[in-house]
């Protein structure tokens, strides 16, 4: 029972559902919920839900991942529906990151050539500092 509640609260926090949404979801999944229980859950979540969500967000920010893989692509934006003549090269990076929890996530980012070169420069600075330390 406790494990179920923990799991429910954790996933509700992650998706930032409201008290009403939570109760509706539970009712849909099973007919066995007593009205009184649902009311308690509703009240507890309405009071505490936001706090859980905020804590989870903070935790996500504090967790330090490791880069497992870096894939890159150099492309040229030729044209778009708002500009027929873009003619702009861009660098696209796909980062594969493993969290301390073991979960693997992918982050994709896109940058212009000057932005990439700045990124590259900062990385070189990091390497230089690491050498002297």
């Amino acid at each position: 029972m406790i494990r179920f509640l923990l799991l429910t609260f954790r996933s509700s926090g992650k998706s930032n559902v409201s008290g009403d949404e939570l109760v509706a979801k539970l009712e849909k999944s099973s007919n066995n919920w007593a009205k009184a229980s649902l009311q308690v859950l509703h009240r507890v979540w309405s009071e505490q839900g936001a706090l859980v969500h905020a804590q989870q967000e903070a935790q996500a920010m504090l967790s330090v991942g490791q880069l497992v893989d870096l894939q890159w692509k150099l492309g040229m934006s030729v044209s778009s529906d708002t500009c027929r003549s873009l003619n702009s090269p861009y660098v696209s990076l796909l980062l594969k990151v493993v969290e301390p929890s073991g979960q693997i996530s992918q982050k994709c980012l896109e940058m212009t050539v000057p932005q990439f070169q700045n990124f590259h420069k900062q990385f070189k600075e990091v390497a230089a500092v690491m050498e002297t330390v």
């Binding site: 870096l70 778009s80 027929r84 873009l86 702009s88 090269p89 660098v91 212009t112 590259h120 990091v126």
Partner: protein
């Protein structure tokens, strides 16, 4: 005297249109522009002027016209018969506007076409790991902590925090050098 006023109003109109179309300024409306710049015109007259200027501006921006293309385009527009053409003053105003705003408008168009998150910020620090509970020598040495701020236009940033040892940093640097090499090859070709 009258000409200076007309020029100012037209510049204002072009700026206003640009703000709405290219810089997502939601505070500027057609009505606002009319009241501020052309109170003496009727609704229909203003709408015609506004739409014509907007159309011309969009044509110029979408083709990212350079100086020569712009002059040719505007000359053709001034030669147009009937109500579809532009006056010499209007052409001059458009030319002035594009010369000063081209870069900004282009940047805005580029960022509109970028749908993946971009790197909004990067901060880092290097720590020296002095001891580890595992006690193995492999893990001593400098460790870099990097916080990448990723975000799409108009959305909140996502912060990704990563840690690297020296080996990893060098691996990434190698890949970045490959990217730079590719960039140099393209630049050379164009």
């Amino acid at each position: 005297m009258a000409n200076a006023e007309a020029t100012k109003s037209l510049s204002g109109l072009l700026n206003g249109i640009s703000q709405v179309v290219y810089h997502n300024n939601t505070e500027i409306t057609e009505e606002l522009l009319k009241n501020e710049l052309y109170p003496e015109l009727s609704q229909e007259e203003f709408k015609a002027l506004h739409d014509k200027m907007k159309g011309l501006l969009k044509s110029i921006a979408t083709a990212d016209m350079d100086h020569a293309q712009l002059e040719a385009f505007l000359t053709a527009q001034t030669r147009k018969q009937g109500g579809g053409g532009v006056s010499a003053e209007q052409a001059a105003a458009l030319s002035r506007f594009w010369k000063s705003q081209r870069v900004r408008v282009r940047e805005s168009l580029l960022s509109q076409s970028r749908w993946e998150p971009s790197l909004r910020g990067l901060s880092w620090r290097v720590d020296l790991q002095t001891a580890s509970s595992h006690g193995d020598a492999d893990h001593s040495g400098p460790v870099a902590l990097m916080e990448l701020e990723l975000g799409r236009a108009g959305q909140d940033s996502e912060f990704v925090c990563l840690e690297f040892d020296e080996t990893k940093v060098n691996q990434v640097l190698k890949k970045m050098a490959d990217i730079q090499e590719s960039i140099d090859r393209i630049v050379h070709r164009t």
